[in-house]
Symmetry: C2
Subunit: 161 residues, 2 copies
């Protein structure tokens, strides 16, 4: 498959909030996001993988300035989920590889992960859309990850990256 | 925030493959996706949440006809990851809620999760892009989930849904 990647860009203006050990029952995500909405927090990425043991983890990203408010907004609703823990990481970078007309993410994914692995960069999270594969890495690895991906997909870094 | 949702659509032509207990080290995702690429498998969604205990789970979706080939392609590379297990679910449905100009996924997320929770529909996976929130539910709940979301966002179901 001819991979046509048109752009690679990064965003270090996000922080991750993760809630672990949530009951994998209908309505639980609604409780979490109602609390976050009541706190007036702007959420960008939301990632939940399948819960194979009945306990789900949900992560989402917010502006770093909103982390304290988010954790406070979750305090009350999570009281009834005794086992759930909230953790956060304010030092993350999100990098997105955009490919127009991607029929499949397999080849772009394999190439991205190779470029990152060869560079010793750990992939913390992965999220895809029809035209994009986004990953989260440590904030201090974002610049080197961005350069490695631009090189892998033959895109010249533009001046303001 | 005024939520402007323009479309809700579903796709039941996907199966989920999940690999658990992967070492959260650089290069591991590259091994997984190289094997999947060598197997000629078309991957749609890829979801990895942060690994808080050093062991990561990666899920991805493939056409149901490709599941056996995917599992076979992963057999050899995963031999060196002794603790990793591969599981799959061929009976899933993916539903996407598209909102143009979404500044934040908080309100759309809260509203989606409420509509699903009130309907007794369990959210198995969540994945977002700039303009979209996608979820995975059980295949046999996809139609009722789609209707609940169309109603929640005041979109009339079109004839071919
Ligand atoms: C964990 C959470 O997503 C739950 N499965 C729900 O449906 O709300
Ligand atoms: C789990 C896997 O994504 C690993 N963290 C990697 O970087 O390849």
């Amino acid at each position: 498959e001819e991979i046509v990647v048109s752009d690679v860009y990064s965003d270090t203006d996000q922080a991750r909030v993760t809630i672990t050990q949530l009951h994998d029952h209908p309505g639980v995500a609604a409780e979490v996001f109602s609390a976050v909405a009541d706190g007036g927090v702007l959420v960008d990425m939301i990632i939940q993988n399948v819960a194979l043991d009945g306990k789900a983890n949900i992560s989402f990203t917010v502006p770093p300035t909103d982390v304290a408010r988010t954790i406070e907004a979750l305090r009350m609703p999570l009281l009834k989920h005794g086992e759930s823990q909230v953790s956060c990481d304010e030092r993350i970078g999100k990098i997105s590889v955009v490919g127009i007309g991607l029929r499949s993410h397999t080849d772009v994914g394999a190439r991205m992960f190779h470029a990152l692995g060869d560079g010793g960069i750990n992939v913390q999270m992965v999220n895809t859309s029809e035209i994009k594969v986004s990953i989260v890495v440590a904030a201090d690895q974002t610049a080197v990850a961005l350069k490695a991906l631009q090189k892998s997909f033959n895109l010249t870094p533009n001046a303001d990256n």
